[in-house]
C-alpha cells in the first residue's frame, strides 16, 4: 500500500509537468506553424495577382494605424524569420489617392533584426527596430515600403494621416481595420482561433497583409481600389478608420 502511495506521489507531479510542457510546446508549435503559413500564403497571393512578385523580406507595422497631421510617423520593422538580420537602406511613402511616391528618406545605419512576432496579444510583435520619420504629410491614406541593403523590401504598411481640421469632402470611406486585425494570425492566433481564452486580446501592433491574407479580403487592398475609383470620378474622399471602445471583457469586436 505504501509503495502504491509513493508511486502515485511520484507519477502525478510527473504527469502534471509533462502536461504543462506539452501545452506550452503545442502553443509554440502552433505559433510557428501560423508564421510559416502566413509567410507562404502572402507569397502565393503575390504570385496570383502578379503584384510585387518578388519575395518580401521585411515586415512591419505603424505605432498607430493613424497619425495626426504634423506628427512624426513611427514604424516597427523586422526581417522575416528564417532570414538573417540586415541593415536598412531607405523608406518610401506612397499616397493611395493616386499611387504616387510622396516621401523618400535614407535610413541607413538602422538594423532590421530577424524576428518572430512575439505575441498576438498585449504588446503584439514587439519588433525591436524603431523608425521615426518627420514627413509633413497631409491628410489622406498612405503606405510605406522599407528597403534594406540586401535588396529586400517590406510589405506595404498602410496608415492614415488624420486631418487637424475637417474640410469639405464628398465621400467618407471607412477602412475596416478591425476586421483585418481580427483575421490576421500573426503572433499565433486570430479572433477566430478556437480557444476562448485568446479571443478578445488581439494586439493592434502586428503586421497587416496589404493584399488581405488567404481569402483576399482582409487587408487594405480591396478598399484601396474603391478609394482610388472615387478619386478618379472627381470626388473628394475622406479616408477614415473603424473606432472601437474597450469593453470590460472584450477589447473590441469590430470584425464583419
Amino acid at each position: 500500500m505504501t509503495k502504491t502511495r509513493i508511486a502515485f506521489a511520484l507519477i502525478f507531479p510527473l504527469l502534471i509537468t509533462v502536461g504543462i510542457l506539452y501545452q506550452y510546446r503545442f502553443i509554440e508549435v502552433e505559433k510557428a506553424y501560423y508564421q510559416t503559413l502566413l509567410f507562404l500564403q502572402s507569397r502565393e497571393l503575390r504570385k496570383k495577382f502578379h503584384i510585387d512578385t518578388e519575395q518580401k523580406d521585411l515586415v512591419g507595422y505603424p505605432e498607430n494605424i493613424s497619425f495626426p497631421e504634423g506628427n512624426s510617423l513611427i514604424f516597427y520593422i523586422a526581417r522575416n524569420p528564417g532570414l538573417s538580420s540586415s541593415k536598412l537602406k531607405s523608406v518610401e511613402i506612397f499616397r493611395i489617392k493616386d499611387d504616387t511616391s510622396v516621401f523618400q528618406e535614407n535610413i541607413s545605419g538602422k538594423k532590421a533584426i530577424s524576428q518572430v512576432c512575439a505575441d498576438y496579444k498585449e504588446n503584439g510583435c514587439d519588433f525591436k527596430t524603431r523608425i521615426e520619420l518627420n514627413t509633413n504629410l497631409t491628410q489622406g491614406s498612405y503606405y510605406a515600403q522599407f528597403a534594406d541593403e540586401s535588396e529586400g523590401s517590406s510589405e506595404r504598411i498602410f496608415f492614415i494621416i488624420l486631418p487637424n481640421k475637417l474640410k469639405k469632402y464628398d465621400i467618407t470611406i471607412v477602412y475596416p481595420n478591425f476586421t483585418w486585425n481580427a483575421y490576421t494570425r500573426v503572433g499565433g492566433a486570430s479572433f477566430y482561433t478556437s480557444n476562448s481564452s485568446r479571443k478578445y486580446r488581439l494586439s493592434l501592433k502586428r503586421p497587416i497583409f496589404y493584399l488581405g491574407g488567404p481569402d483576399e479580403t482582409h487587408g487594405p487592398y480591396p478598399t484601396v481600389l474603391f478609394e482610388q475609383r472615387f478619386w478618379s470620378l472627381g470626388y473628394r474622399v475622406l479616408p477614415t478608420l473603424c473606432r472601437g471602445r474597450p469593453r470590460k471583457k472584450r477589447l473590441f469586436r469590430g470584425a464583419y
Binding site: 464628398d170 474603391f226 475609383r229 470620378l233 470626388y235
Partner: protein
Amino acid sequence: MQRKTSEETALQGGLLKKDYENASGMNILTHDHPIFSGIAKAEPEFGQQSELIFLEVDGLPLTDQMEIDRERFRNDLRRNVIPKNIKPLAWSWIYPYNKEQPMQKVSVVNEYWPDFGGHVLNMGSIGWFNVLRRNDEKATKIVDNSVRYMMESSSAKKLTK
C-alpha cells in the same frame, strides 16, 4: 449566405448548368434604374468573369415572380427587419450558409429609404473589389453609376446636413 458549392451538388438540386456557370455574377431586375444606365437590356448579366459573387453575400430570398419572399420568414424574427419599401434591383444564385437548402434566387442589390431619413443602396456582395481589380468594364460602369446616383440623391444629402 455564400455561393460556393460543387457543380454536382448544384445540378442535383435542380439547377441548370448554364445557371450554375453564371452564378459568379448578378442579373439585373430593374433595368430602368439609374445604376444600370448604359447597360444593354439584352444582356442583363454582369460580373461573371470577374467573380463578383465571391465568398460572402447578403440578400433577400425571391419568389418565382422575382419579388421579395416575405413569407419565408413569417415564423422567425427576421420578418420584422425586412424594410417595407425595399426595392430589389439585381439578383444572383446563392447557396445558403446553413447548406440545408439548394441554390436559390436572391435579391442581392437592394435600395431603400429608412423612415428616419437617408437613402441606402446595398450592393450585396463582398466581391465588388474583384470587378475593379480585374477591369470588368460592364460591372465597373455599375459601380460608377451607383456612386453618382447616391451623390445626387436628395434624401442622402438631407441626412448629412
